[in-house]
Symmetry: C2
Subunit: 357 residues, 2 copies
């Protein structure tokens, strides 16, 4: 016990993040640059980088802030965005993604960060880290900009699996609630179940079942259940956690991101209209920058895989240094509070008869 406690204290002082350096569309330079940004902001973090040793060593050498804080683990292959998850599970032993997950499995690091192929990352994480007891389907949770005081809502699942039954949705609710409590500091998160209307008689059968299961857990687990919510509540303020299946969540988040980009592009277009509007856009620049900072998806760039023995943060494939650094910040925060242990305790607290269903 003493040894274990010492180890935990040591971990709390030095947070080690395992980073797949080959996962992003922008190549390892952007990922190393993201590590550099984080290293300069937070002196508690150090890194294990996975990828081709000579290339990574060259990139790291150019960043003084990373000196003495990076271990490189050589991996000669990389998972591409086109690789099928099943192929990666069978033949991916030499990839940087596999190596990055392995560092969490063997206890060298607390959290993995990858910008790579989501399906492959989830498949490898499930096989190598294994699911938490009581979890049938893990979920990917994202932080969605919202009008709530905390600035974000938790939305899950956004694509770990395209189906979810009522029992899965209950677990998503508990995991999302635990993430909101520990990641957003909300002692009593308000949970909503995504549907096409707020009336109890609406929607698919599994949603009506999930409604009752989640409602029945709210006292024990210490959250509020606001019932059915609609797509418009994802950026809204009537709940903090929105629960849905991976197909719907994936479409919702991509529609929201696409719409926000479309509004931004249209705004730029509107400002180009006349000399006066171009002058206005110069004066408005600081305001628009504040807006961009508030709703910039790169700042909340990290889907978290929930329901595994270990924390995995999935960053956008197109993430630049700012995006990678945001994912590392989230990873460090979750590592710091030993989030996996808290989540495991939450899901394991479900009555046994329900877990076996």
């Amino acid at each position: 016990m003493t040894a274990q406690t010492d180890q935990r204290d040591a971990k709390a002082k030095r947070i080690i993040i395992s980073v797949d350096a080959m996962g992003g569309d922008q190549g390892p330079a952007a990922i190393v640059a993201g590590c550099d940004v984080s290293a300069r902001k937070n002196s508690d973090i150090s890194f294990i980088l996975h990828g081709p040793e000579p290339e990574l060593a060259g990139l790291v050498a150019k960043k003084p802030a990373l000196a003495g804080r990076v271990e490189i683990r050589h991996a000669g292959e990389a998972v591409t965005m086109d690789d099928k998850p099943s192929q990666v599970v069978r033949n991916g032993k030499d990839t940087s993604m596999w190596s990055a997950i392995e560092a969490v499995r063997d206890g060298s690091a607390s959290v993995t960060v990858s910008c790579g192929n989501t399906g492959a990352l989830m498949a490898l994480s499930m096989i190598r880290l294994r699911k938490l007891p009581g979890v049938n389907r893990p979920a990917i949770a994202v932080l969605y900009p919202s009008s709530n005081p905390q600035g974000f809502n938790v939305l899950l699942d956004v694509g770990a699996d395209v189906r979810a039954d009522a029992e899965d949705l209950l677990r998503f609710a508990l995991m999302g609630m635990s993430y909101a409590r520990n990641g957003l500091d909300l002692p009593r998160p308000r949970v909503g179940l995504l549907n096409v209307g707020t009336e109890e008689h609406k929607g698919r059968t599994e949603l009506k079942e999930a409604y009752e299961l989640i409602r029945d857990q709210r006292e024990t687990a210490g959250f509020e259940f606001v019932g059915f919510v609609e797509g418009g509540d994802i950026p809204g303020d009537i709940c903090d956690v929105i629960v849905t299946d991976g197909f719907t969540g994936n479409v919702a988040i991509k529609t929201g991101e696409g719409t926000a980009s479309f509004v931004g592009d249209s705004l730029r277009e509107a400002f180009k209209f006349s000399p006066l509007s171009r002058l206005a856009s110069l004066l408005a620049y600081p305001s628009l920058r504040r807006l961009k900072k508030k709703i910039d998806p790169r700042r909340v760039n990290g889907g978290v895989f929930l329901g595994l023995n270990g924390t995995v943060v999935k960053s956008h494939g197109s993430a630049d240094a700012t995006g990678v650094s945001a994912a590392i910040k989230l990873a460090a925060q979750l590592a710091d509070i030993q989030f996996t242990d808290k989540l495991a305790a939450r899901v394991a607290a479900l009555p046994a008869e329900e877990k076996d269903e």
Copy 2:
């Protein structure tokens, strides 16, 4: 034959819209005001209004532009947002919604417009107007602001039914394509099937089946099939028609609307930050107005029910005069081109063996 042709010519000159005056959250005054806006813009339109006669007569009397262009059909009851569709079908004979649909059924009007309870409106429309031959599930299609030259994409289904099998999705593709061709003047619309990734192996089984069915119809029906698309493509420019089931479509459109509102609110907030930013917002006002006009959901305020013997336009429950007028404009356009006949021809053109499946 001659009589029928005469009738059609007469219809082309005088477009009669049947309007449920009791459906909106803002009451009949907003709906009559919307009719007034449309009447002043388009001298070809006249109206049949459904609701309590004395109240409507009073409202119409205040609008000179409506003089001689409105017939009032008395209906003493109104469908509320809380009424279950099944109850309205059983007991709704005296409601303004029933009466509004009946005017299309009996041929007095070409199109119905209602801001009321969507579920009840669809249920009544199905029972009273009946489905087109070959259509198992009707769909609700909306115009979504997009970066395409036409300014909008067609998204369907957004909530007629929460399920859709592969055959239903094929019909949605054909109906959406016909709507894009006739409503957006696109001779060869590009159709995409909504999924969680663009790779052919991704997503649910019914989507893979629908992929093949839609692909096989593209030559005969004269559209392009771009394959699987993602949520971000709904406001994008890679296709003109996005096909999905009613559950997913409903969540997508509400998430998109909610996100656009959130961005707008955040923008207003950003402009309040300092005296300089308040000055900037004054100068930026014309640009922001242009943006608002482009993406204002009220301007495309009309979901169209596709797959019925008659055209039904569903307007937002919260629509004001501008919103109601936008819905009437769409209704008038669809009536003018005899859209229902064109759609019926399109769906009926499917091979018989597929229709019977």
